[in-house]
Structure formats: C-alpha cells, structure tokens
C-alpha cells in the first residue's frame, strides 16, 4: 500500500528546520517532542522494571527454601516495598504514559501533544521523583511497609528513619507528573484530532487513554492526599492517622484505595487499548464490537470508583457496606468480559498471523482471564477473608498486573519497535522470549495461589519448613528466573535490532491506524500534511485510503504544509471539525528548571529545612514566570513560492 507520500525536498526541509531540536545536550534538555519524551518514558520505565526485577529475584531466592538467611528481615522488607513501589509507580504507570506519548498524537494525526512543554515537565518530574525515591539507597534508609504504606506502622513512632519520608514525598511528587500527563492526554484527544476523526472513528487505544486519563484526574488526589497527610504526621506531628491523638488509621486506607483501586484500571485500561489495536491487525479484520468495547472502557472508568473497599473487607466494615462494594467489584466484570469476548470474536472471524505482538496479546488474554476470575473470587467476602493478605492475593494481582499489564506492554514494545526505530527485531527470538516469559510467569505465580490457600501470608521474610510450603516456593522461584531469562532475551533482541535490524518500512504489520502512515521512525513533525480521516481504519479501507491525504474533494479542506509549518490543527466537536490553527511551542529549558525547583522543595521537606523549601519555591515561581512569558516566534520563514505549493498539491 502506498500511503506514504514522498515529501518534496523543500517542504520537508523547511518543516525539518522548524521542528528540529538543537543538536547534542541542549536539544536533549530542551526538547518538547512527544516522540523523544515518549521514548524516554519507555526507556526509563524499563530501567526501573529491571531494578524491580532484580529485587523480586532476590526475594524469590530468599523464599526458595525455608528458614533461609540470604537476606535479613530488614532487607527483605525493603526489597518487597521497593519492588511494589517501583512496579506500580515507576514502571507500570510511566510505561503506559510513554506509549501514550509516542503513539497517541500519531494515531490521531497531529504533530504533538496539546501541551508539549507540560509533557516535557511531566517526564522530568517522573525522572526526578524516581531518583528521589531511589536515593534512599544512598543513605541506606528505605521504606519497609509495602507499597501501600499503612499507618500507624509508617508513622514516625514505628518507622523513625527517613525511608518512609522518601516514599511519601516521592509518591506525592510523582502524582504531579501523572496528573498533568492525564490532563494533557484529555486535551490532546479533545482538541487535536485530525479533521474527520469523529468519536466513532477514534482508535480504541485513544479511547482507552481518554478513559484512563479521566480516572487519573479524579482518583489521583486520593493517594496524593494520603501521602501528604502521612508526611504531615511524620514531619510536623499532626494526628491524621495516629490513634493516640484521636486520628484514624483506617482513614488512610480509604484515601489510598480510593486511588488504589481505580489505579489497577488506570494501568489495565490502556493495556487493553494496546490489545484492541494489536489483535485486529494480526487477525486481519477490524475489531468486532467497536462500540461495545469503547463503551466498556468508559463503564470501567466509572465503576472502578465504587470498588475501593474491596481491599478492606477484613478491616471490620459493616456487612451491608461490604456487600455494596462486593457487588460493584462483581459488576466491573461485565465490561471486562465484553472486551474479552470482543477480542475472541475478532480472532474467531479473522485470519490470524502468528507474530510476536500477537503471541504476547494471546498470552495476556489467557493470563488475564485467570486473574479476572480470581478477582471475582476475592470480591466474595467470606472467601476474601481467607484470601486477603496471603499469597493467593499476591498471585491474583500478579496475574492482573504482570499478566494484564506487563504482557500487553511487551506486546506493545514488539508491535511499535519498528515504528520507534525503523528496524525489525529477530522474530524467532522474539517468539522464544515470549514462551520463556509466559511459561516462567505461570510457573512463578500459579503455585502462589496454592500457597495462600495453605496459609502463607504475604510479606513474610521466611517460613518454617514444618509448614510444608517449601516445594511450591521453590517452584515459584524457578519460574521467576525463567521469566527473567525471557526478559533478557527481549532486551538482547532489541539491542541487536536497534543497531543491525532490517529496515522496517513505514507499515511492517500492514496495520490500520495513522501512526503507520508516516515514516519509521516518524519525522520530527510527524506528518507532512495533517491527514483528513474518513474511516475507522484509515489505512485499510479502500474507499477511504485517500482519506489520509488532503484531497479537497474528500476532506473538504486543504491543510498544506505552508500554512501549517509551526502549527498543528485544532478541531472541535464530536466529529472533529476544523477550528483553529494552533501554534506549537519551541524547545525550552523551563520544564526541566521547574521540575528541578520542585525537587528542591521535596528535598527541603525531607530534611525539614525551611531555607531549602523557600529556595525551591522561589525557583519554581521564577521558572513559572519564564515559562509563561509571551511566546516569541522565530524569524518568519521565507514565503513559499506559489508555484511550488501547487506542484506539491498536485
């Protein structure tokens, strides 16, 4: 298919000149290009994934045999706390944001996110908050209370060192990044869709990001408040959670899970968006039940806010209250079920190609069905009283989060790797890595269901051999290492392909969505011309194939590069009518300066050093002033000769 239009050199060069970052370090620090930021998110998140994996493997070694003394209890508690914190806050959320950043603007046919500087800021905050949380290792003061950090254990009386401060401040700080990211996705989707991309033509990936971004905006204040009040208790001696001062430990749990349950869906919904893109491409037919799937995503976003007490059935909540949340927990199965059966129907009616992204997607499907089933089981209260806080739950949420998010993320890595790099990886090696990960995953986590039913609580650093838990634990450890081997194979494959892989071409998978209509990797300005969309699957539909170029008789509008050089197009309404030409900002230092100033405030709070807080505050105000100074355009580019434009359009 010839969807790619070779740019005329002059136009291409002028766009290149306008959109290019400065070379070297300056460009690296000042870029606001969504693709570079997206890449950064993904690479940074993968580094945290590997760190977290090492932590997990050390834990599995410790638990492989009973009464083990490989690590002491303090170290073990630090390991599982950092593992959970890293996976949730520093891997899952950001890698999802990374794919969103890279892919979403391409899929809706625009040139960047709605707020490119905010986007850069969001990444820098993520990076600095991640470093902040991990800098506990430098002073050997790490949190030990697990990724949900229940007080009063996390109060200053029982956790006097700075480990919990690193955690609470870091988590609250990171919330800034996630929140502005969510807002950015919402505005981008609402305002920057290519003309003609009505809501009924929106790729499901974009639907998923829209749903998840609304969840972020409404849920995230919960965890931010929980962490900030915890830090108030710790640093300033308030009594929000301190029962000795009339505080309420259970208040923290409500605040935390008010975010924490939607968070599961905040991670999982974009992952389903990825799957809804990949399965149709490799089944070679449009998804069955587009509307049902889109509606399910929205339904999940709503219902997920009614499930949080699901995590608190054993806290002594009244039976009636428990039953309400139990019912909501069961209800959310329906939209998830609709999605699963829509994928099954798509496979049923399609002609399946066996490629690695598809393998990861089908692996996800089976694993996630199991995780969903155990999720239903723990929504039923009397059983949950047995299962909660045991290895049954550990198994359940690894099926949901590792199976339901990590597998889709690896599917996405394989699916979009050619787009990111312009090169193909080794397909047989990719399939081998899938099988290692899939088998390793199931061997690692399935036995943990059984361990939980046999009475093994989570978060124990050791167990006695008389309890009979040895065999299953050993099996689980072996599975963990097989999984890790699979991850290493993926990395090796990508490292090789990045340097030596065969050229991928613009659309190696013969996919349908707009990111495949441009070069691999896309040019700085994404599209030479803003496409006009006439179909839900623009690259597939014969009738609409020309819809992605800008022929007046189809799109009704000419959006030639000359009038769109430093701008992108703003659209309005459900049907994405052309509304305005939006100027896009140049590269700038202000986002990184502002993020750094906020980091200084965090360090000030950590050390309860007022001068440092004041310094950071001044810096932040200064950076904000610099950020908002009136936008100065560079020298106007020379007007393009009319003749050339006509040739261009012809």
């Amino acid at each position: 298919m010839t969807t790619l239009r070779e740019p005329a050199p002059t136009v291409h060069e002028r766009l290149e000149h306008t959109w290019r970052d400065a070379p070297g370090l300056v460009g690296w620090l000042t870029t606001v290009d969504h693709k570079r930021i997206g890449n950064r998110y993904i690479v940074t998140a993968m580094i945290f994934f590997l760190l977290s994996g090492v932590q997990a493997l050390i834990m599995r070694l410790q638990l492989a045999v009973p009464d083990n003394t490989l690590v002491d209890p303090q170290t073990f508690n630090e390991l599982y706390t950092m593992h959970g914190t890293t996976m949730i806050f520093l891997f899952n959320t950001p890698i999802v944001a990374g794919f969103g950043n890279y892919i979403l603007p391409l899929q809706i046919g625009t040139r960047d996110m709605a707020f490119p500087r905010l986007n850069a800021f969001s990444y820098w905050v993520y990076l600095f908050a991640g470093i902040f949380i991990y800098s506990g290792y430098l002073v050997d003061q790490l949190p030990t209370a697990g990724w949900f950090a229940y007080p009063p254990f996390t109060g200053s009386q029982f956790s006097p060192d700075m480990g919990m401060d690193f955690w609470a401040i870091g988590v609250a700080f990171l919330g800034v990044s996630t929140t502005v990211g969510g807002i950015n996705f919402i505005v981008t989707t609402f305002k920057l869709r290519a003309p003609g991309m009505s809501v009924s033509r929106l790729p499901l990936f974009v639907w998923a990001f829209l749903a998840t971004s609304f969840m972020i905006v409404f849920a995230l204040p919960g965890v931010t408040l929980a962490a900030v009040l915890l830090e108030f208790d710790r640093a300033f001696g308030t009594h929000f959670y301190n029962p000795g001062g009339g505080g309420l430990p259970v208040l923290y749990q409500h605040l935390f899970w008010f975010w924490g349950h939607p968070e599961v869906y905040i991670l999982f919904v974009p992952a389903t968006g990825v799957i809804s893109m990949i399965i149709p491409v490799f089944a070679r037919r449009p998804i069955v039940g587009y509307l049902a799937v889109a509606a399910s995503l929205v339904a999940i976003a709503f219902i997920s806010f009614g499930v949080w007490v699901h995590h608190m059935f054993a806290t002594g909540v009244p039976v009636l209250v428990g039953s309400f949340f139990s019912a909501a927990g069961l209800l959310i199965t329906i939209p998830s079920g609709v999605q699963i059966f829509a994928w099954l129907a798509t496979l049923w009616q399609g002609r399946v190609r066996w490629k690695s992204p598809m393998l990861f997607s089908v692996g996800f499907l089976t694993v996630f069905v199991l995780g969903g089933i155990t999720g239903v089981m723990v929504s039923v209260i009397a059983f949950d009283w047995q299962a909660t806080d045991t290895y049954f739950i550990v198994a359940h949420f690894h099926y949901v989060l590792n199976g339901g998010v990590v597998f889709p993320m690896f599917a996405a890595l394989h699916y979009w790797f050619p787009k990111f790099t312009g090169r193909m990886f080794n397909e047989p090696l990719a399939q081998a890595s899938f099988w290692l990960m899939f088998i390793g995953f199931n061997v690692a986590f399935f036995p943990q269901h059984i361990l939980g039913l046999w009475g093994m609580p989570r978060r124990v650093y050791t167990y006695q051999s008389e309890l009979g838990w040895d065999g299953m634990n050993m099996l689980s450890t072996i599975g963990g290492f097989v999984f890790a081997l699979g991850v290493l194979v993926v990395i090796a494959n990508f490292a090789w392909a990045w340097k030596r892989g065969a050229a991928a071409g613009p659309n190696p998978w013969e996919a349908d969505s707009l990111e495949w209509a441009t070069t691999s990797p896309p040019r700085d300005y994404n599209f030479l011309e803003i496409p006009v969309v006439g179909s839900r699957n623009p690259l597939w539909n014969e009738d609409h194939r020309e819809g992605i170029v800008t022929e007046p008789e189809h799109g009704g509008e000419v959006l030639a590069p000359a009038e769109m050089e430093e701008e992108t197009l703003g659209t309005a309404g459900l049907d994405a009518r052309r509304e305005a030409v939006l100027p896009m900002p140049e590269p700038t230092y202000w986002p990184i300066v502002l993020a750094f100033a906020l980091t200084v405030i965090c360090v000030g709070v950590l050390l309860t050093n007022v001068q440092l807080i004041a310094l950071g505050f001044l810096g932040a105000v200064g950076a904000a002033i610099g950020w908002f100074q009136p936008h100065e355009h560079g020298p106007e580019p020379e007007p393009e000769p009319e003749q050339e434009r006509e040739q261009e359009m012809a």
Binding site: Q74, Y150, P152, F153, F158, P243, G244, P249, V250, R285, V288, G289, A292, A314, G316, G322, S323, S326, A327, L331, T333, I334, G337, V338, I340, F341, A342, L344, A345, T346, L347, W348, Q349, R351, V362, L365, V369, L370, V376, M377, S379, V380, A382, F383, W385, Q386, A387, T388, D389, G452, L453, W454, G455, P457, R458, Y461, S465, E466, L467, G468
Partner: protein
C-alpha cells in the same frame, strides 16, 4: 493431649498443610464452600474461553465475516460478555449475601485479643485468664473475639477456623470463631506489622468443654511458689532483674505489662510467638540474646551470670 499435638504438629518436622481448604469451623467452612463453588464455575468458564480462543485461531473465517458483528460476534459479546457474567454474578451476589447472613455477630464466651509487635495476648475476662500466643477454646462454642492492638495494625488469622479480622489500634473489632472438633490450629499475623511479622504465629487449641474448663481454672490461678532452692534463686533473679519490668508472673512481685504474661509459661509449647520450641536450651538462648533468634523483637538481651541464668531457667520452667 493438646500440648502433645502442638509439639507433634508444629515443631517436630512433619508437614502441616492445613490452611483454608481444611476447614474445622463454620466460618472457614463457608469460605471453603465459596472457594470450590467459584473454582468449579471458573474452571468451566476458563476452559470455554480457551476452547473459543484456540478454535477461533485455527478456523478459517467464512467470506461474509469481515463486516460488522456477524452472528458469532453478537453471540460472543452479548452472550459471553454480558449474559453469562450477569447470570454468574447474580448467583454469586446471592451466595455472598447468604453467607454473610450466616455470620454470627455475638458469641457465648468473650476472648479479648490484643496484638503487640510481635506477639498476641489473650484474655478471658469472664474466666480471669491471661496468656500469650497459645490459647485454648472450647469445642462447639462460639467464642467472641474482641480484637485490638497496642501499636500497629495486625491481622488475626487462623485459616482452619475462619478468615481474617484486622487488628487496629484505637478500635475494637468483633469476630466470632468456633471449632468443630478438638485440635491444634495454627494462625499467623496477616497484616505486615514490622521486622518480625513473619514470626508472629499463634496457636488456638480446641478442647472438649471439660478439658477447657480445667485448663481455664489452672490458667486463672497464680503461679505456684518454687519448691527447690535453685528455683527460689531463679524467682529472686527474676524479681530483681529487668524481667519484672515487662513481664508479669501472678503471685509474685513481677507485674510488668509490656511483654507476655509468664504465669504459666512452662505450659506453652513455643517461645517468641511460635519462633522456637519451648525447652531449656532455647529458653536460655532466648534470655541471653533474643535478638539473635528473633531480630527486631522487643525482648532485650538479659546479661546474667551463668549461675543466675541457670536458676532463672529452672524457675521459669516450673511455671506450669
């Protein structure tokens, strides 16, 4: 008998793999019923999904199947994605409510349970019994636990008897357990509570009512005075050293309230909430340096001359 069973089951080397699937009480039985019901239904659904998945990937689509839902699509999405979950979930909601309605709110006998880092205190207010980590209950009677904590959140869990109830500071939760047959049921703290969360076990020993009454009467009595010279020396060491600051031995001047009550310590099977067996060797080691055995527990090392240690061990092991 029960004591022998504790020793036999817990620390002698044979595997106990009881847990939630070997219920010995009505609460655990309800959970077990729900587990098998849901596992059966789930297995059927999982197999169905896998069959559709594999078959769907193998079969070649018919020519008309490239547009819209198609018959199979409508059947799967509305049948499999909506109708099937609605039916299954309505059933589960019914089961959920039915099982919750069966949950008793009050018991016949009150047992106050207090969580400490990292051990359990048990107090039968009606019987005047205070003990730690190992508690007896009468078979066939509903025991109403009133659980609270002095420090952080713990969770009380004896899987063969019932699910968990969280143990909060500043709040008392009520939980009714019942054992259907005599036996020793191991439990463990299930909410992370600190460095030694892993070694915060407990044993519930279910006795026939007559045996239980005898146990309660014995436990309620003060410690009997030492009879040998060595044990008398041990008592003096106890009262004059740091032991008495934290531990109580009813009938002596030791009345500390921070650590476990030791009045009938020798009748327990383990030291340190299930950490090591209760014998002279482990006891001596525990007294000298509990941190080597259970690092992070609040029991400090007790520097004692060898003779004093010997006498103290002798005395404590007479506290039947």
């Amino acid at each position: 008998m029960a004591a022998a069973a504790v020793a036999g089951l817990s620390l002698s080397g044979c595997a106990v793999r009881a847990g939630a699937l070997a219920p010995k009480g009505p609460g655990a039985r309800r959970a077990e019923f729900e587990f098998w019901l849901m596992t059966t239904v789930s297995a059927a659904i999982f197999v169905l999904v896998c069959v559709v998945l594999v078959w769907g990937m193998i079969r070649r689509p018919k020519s008309g199947e490239q547009e819209g839902y198609g018959r199979s699509g409508r059947l799967m999405i509305f049948g499999g994605g909506i109708a099937m979950p609605v039916v299954v979930l309505l059933g589960l909601m019914g089961v959920n409510v039915y099982m919750l309605a069966a949950e008793p709110e009050q018991g016949d006998l009150v047992l106050e349970v207090t969580g400490y880092q990292f051990w359990w205190e048990f107090h039968y207010p009606e019987l005047g019994v205070v003990t730690a980590n190992e508690v007896h209950i009468p078979v066939g009677r509903r025991v109403e636990l009133r659980v609270t904590s002095v420090d952080v959140i713990h969770s009380f869990w004896v899987p063969e008897l019932h699910g968990k109830i969280d143990v909060f500071p500043g709040r008392t939760n009520t939980w009714v357990i019942e054992a259907e047959e005599p036996g020793v049921y191991r439990g463990q703290c299930a909410e992370f509570c600190g460095l030694q969360h892993a070694n915060m076990a407990l044993y519930v020993i279910a006795d026939e009512p007559a045996v239980f009454d005898a146990w309660a009467e014995h436990e309620a009595a003060p410690a009997s005075p030492p009879t040998t010279a060595l044990a008398r020396l041990g008592l003096r060491v106890m009262q004059s050293s740091s032991c008495a600051g934290c531990h109580a031995v009813r009938g002596t001047t030791a009345d500390g309230q921070l650590g476990p009550d030791l009045t009938h310590f020798a009748s327990r099977e383990t030291i340190g909430a299930g950490t090591v067996p209760n014998d002279r060797g482990h006891l001596a080691g525990w007294l000298l340096d509990a941190q080597a055995i259970k690092p992070g527990s609040l029991m400090p090392p007790v520097p004692l001359a060898p003779d004093d240690l010997h006498a103290l061990v002798e005395y404590i092991e007479t506290l039947e």
